[in-house]
């Protein structure tokens, strides 16, 4: 009995021991990479815990199946000390995992909330049902598309013209609510050229599911000429 408890404890602690090796980041952190990494660790963590519980359950289910109709269980009673142990030890194990996860979360959360200094700023105003994208320094406004330069952190300032919306770019693992009367922000780091979906994730009525657009990551040069072209035309709405 005692041995088994020890082994069980070790199995539950394994994820904590395995992943307490902190990763040292250099330069500008990339929340997307951080998210993917932590997600991966989390999946291993919860799968292990799940397998332990499920394994023990299945074992008991088979081992203690009723053999005779008059058979009874109930022969096993915890001593007061055993009851304390079976309350405090599992509580301790769960809490250890919690503290570990909260610490991991703290790191990544800071990456998400601290915008790098050289970030390029874009303003987005959500409305029913679309995204108005402004380039404040250039006086450009477009709807439902956002051109951004490759290799530079992009900060998005969010607000809403009417109801609560939420600005989501699945590929970059970012999302933040856009509220009327407030400005919120998020940032992401497009390292490669390409196209990504931006879409609304806070229910906002009839065309909520149609409130989406494209984010186009283009090279710095292409971006400069895109700015020049649209400045001349006075916005591309």
């Amino acid at each position: 009995m005692k041995d088994r408890s020890v082994i069980l404890g070790l199995i539950l602690l394994a994820p904590i021991i395995l992943f307490s090796t902190a990763h040292a980041g250099e330069g500008i952190p990339d929340p997307r990479a951080g998210w993917n990494e932590l997600w991966h660790e989390l999946m291993i963590d919860i799968t292990l815990i799940g397998l332990v519980f499920a394994g023990v359950t299945v074992y008991f289910m088979v081992r203690y199946k009723r053999q005779r109709p008059d058979e009874e269980g109930g022969s096993f009673k915890l001593t007061p000390l055993g009851a304390f142990g079976w309350t405090l030890i599992p509580a301790f194990i769960f809490m250890a995992d919690d503290i570990f996860l909260a610490a991991k979360n703290f790191e990544l959360w800071n990456d998400y909330r601290n915008v790098p200094e050289n970030a390029y700023v874009v303003e987005v105003e959500a409305y029913m049902w679309g995204w108005n994208v402004k380039y404040p320094d250039e006086g450009i406004e477009v709807n439902n598309e956002m051109y951004v330069p490759q290799g530079r952190p992009i900060m998005v300032r969010l607000t809403s013209r009417d109801v609560v919306h939420s600005f989501f770019i699945p590929d970059f693992r970012v999302k933040w609510d856009a509220l009327p009367g407030r400005t919120t922000y998020l940032w992401f780091y497009p390292k490669e050229r390409g196209e990504h979906v931006m879409t609304c994730t806070e229910y906002c009525g009839l065309l909520h599911s149609n409130m989406y657009g494209k984010i186009k990551v283009i090279s710095q040069d292409e971006f400069s000429s895109w700015i020049e072209k649209n400045k001349k035309e006075g916005g591309a709405v």
């Binding site: 203690y64 009723r66 269980g73 109930g74 919690d98 959360w109 989501f168 999302k175």
Partner: protein, 536 residues
């Protein structure tokens, strides 16, 4: 109290008037049961319509997104307010509490009748959704300013919530008093069924938090119809206030649902393992009361990206993660109760075992949600409905259906068909796992929830389609389950008093079905008596 043999059969003479004016806790329970299963059936139908709509990109069965939004509103609101809360704190609480504690009825039988009719008024009001020209389309969360601007009928939402809220408060007063003062001699606090403790805890939560929800939804209608500006940012109000108030109630509300469901599962597992509860005091003081204590201070995990201060998010990350401690203890207790038991796999037990696995997936997929940084990507995607269907919708449905099979002989005096019962379970179990595992998966891939259509995610159409097939399996299982109950009701064998060999009072001392007043003879409980006193 002694009762003649004929009066044992009082349920066989049907009189509508008697049912309407009844103050008998068992009949009131049945009234709750009928109402909540009706809500479940209708809201389930909406789920089938939604799943069918989602099976392909573009219009599938309706061209109007508003129709989908109303289905979804009704599905969410009716499943929670009309089905799960009333089935657990209405039916099961009413049916079991007096029987398990050895009482003749609840403390305030007429207040009890008022509760159930308030609930029915709520159900009727909710049904108006399908007849008025401008049904509510504000989801069960009703966030302003959308809910105060929409042409949909927000007042219907407000009043449905208020009626069912009043019903809950009356129920809370009643059951707290009953459990405190009406226990038979010998039924002491530390011998109470786990289910009773869970009901006590659930109603304490209701009494503290329901008024907050009542205030929030009332302010919505004041804003919309009477021109106040509580949530109107343009006039100095703040939509975030509503979100705080709403989740201040609605997070604890998940424990109002979860605790009684857990309690039922504990009863079923103890009975079919013929075993005492593993670490009874640990799960009682650490588990149940731990949940009550923590449940009220974690609401902001719904608001991590809604514009709250960073420190508040981080505090709530930690507190939310801590919920894993009491809930984990309750899971250890469930699995531990199998240890050295004598397990028999009748239909209720299959559902109880099913609960362990489904709740395990649901609980573990909640951990990422608690972590604010991970939450950023998965919130408001299909991961969320995936998670809460596992942890609440489906786990608790397993408890309710399993609990209904378990109580069936006592309630009806007849046995259900074991083969049909098991067949229904297996189809249900396969169906829900296909449906909701794929829902989780689509969430990680970025599929947002509450979407009528998804042209921006063409790659998900295949998974959506299989998910829909999974949900049809659930429908098939629901039909089989219903057939097994109707079959049992009209053609089942006569049930003995204690078909499961349980040690709990409702089985050992009350006939099937119990007469008015419940116990034909005065209860005389020995010092050794306990509802889990097996193997001695």
């Amino acid at each position: 109290m002694s009762v003649s043999v004929e009066s044992l059969n009082y349920q066989s003479r049907f009189s509508l008037k008697e049912w309407i004016f009844t103050t008998d806790h068992k009949r009131i329970g049945v009234l709750y049961l009928i109402g909540s299963f009706a809500a479940f059936f209708l809201a389930g139908l909406m789920a089938m319509l939604m799943r069918t709509e989602l099976s392909s990109i573009g219009p599938t069965i309706t061209e109007n997104p508003n129709t989908y939004n109303v289905w979804l509103y009704f599905h969410g609101a009716a499943m929670i307010l009309g089905y799960q809360i009333p089935a657990l704190t209405g039916f099961f609480a009413n049916y079991y509490v007096p029987l398990m504690i050895g009482a003749k009825d609840v403390a305030f039988p007429r207040l009890n009748a008022l509760s159930v009719w308030l609930f029915w008024m709520g159900i009727v009001l909710a049904l108006l959704t399908f007849v008025i020209p401008d049904p509510p389309d504000i989801m069960w969360t009703g966030y302003p300013p959308y809910s105060t601007m929409t042409p949909g009928n927000t007042a219907l939402y407000t009043f449905t919530v208020l009626l069912i809220g009043f019903s809950s408060i009356a129920g809370g007063v009643n059951f707290l008093t009953t459990i405190m003062y009406m226990r038979a001699p010998g039924v002491t606090w530390n011998k109470l069924n786990v289910f009773i403790w869970c009901i006590l805890a659930a109603f304490i939560i209701q009494l503290i938090f329901v008024p907050v929800l009542g205030v929030a939804v009332t302010m919505l209608s004041l804003d919309k119809y009477l021109g106040t500006n509580f949530f109107n940012a343009a006039m100095g109000g703040d939509p975030l206030i509503y979100q705080n108030l709403f989740w201040f109630y609605s997070h604890p509300a998940v424990y109002v649902i979860l605790l009684p469901a857990m309690g039922l599962i504990y009863e079923i597992i103890a009975t079919f393992s013929r075993n005492s509860i593993f670490n009874y005091k640990g799960i009682l003081y650490g588990g149940i009361w731990g949940v009550v204590l923590l449940g009220g201070i974690v609401w902001a995990h719904h608001l991590y990206i809604a514009g709250i201060p960073d420190w508040m998010a981080l505090v709530h990350v930690f507190l939310t993660l801590l919920i894993s401690v009491p809930v984990g203890l309750m899971m250890v207790g469930l699995v531990g109760t199998l240890y050295r038991g004598s397990i028999e796999y009748k239909t209720p037990m299959l559902y109880a075992i099913g609960f362990i696995f489904l709740f395990l997936i649901g609980g573990l997929t909640g951990i990422p949600n608690a972590m604010s940084a991970i939450y950023i990507h998965i919130t408001e995607t299909y991961w969320i409905p995936g998670h809460f269907h596992y942890v609440m919708a489906i786990s608790v449905t397993t408890a309710i259906i399993g609990g209904t099979y378990y109580v069936f002989p006592k309630l009806t005096g007849r046995m259900y068909h074991e083969g049909l019962g098991k067949l229904g379970f297996f189809i249900f179990f396969i169906g829900v796992n296909i449906t909701f595992f794929l829902t989780l998966l689509m969430g990680v891939k970025g599929m947002p929830r509450r979407y009528y259509d998804y042209p921006q995610f063409p790659e998900l159409e295949g998974i959506q389609q299989i998910t829909t097939y999974g949900s049809y399996l659930i429908f098939v299982s629901a039909v089989i389950i219903l057939v097994s109950w109707i079959h049992g009701l009209v053609a089942g064998e006569k049930a003995p008093q204690n078909p499961w060999g349980s040690r709990s009072l409702e089985w050992t001392h009350a006939p099937s079905p119990p007469p008015p007043g419940n116990f034909p003879r005065k209860l005389e409980l020995t010092e050794e008596w306990s509802p889990y006193n097996y193997g001695s």
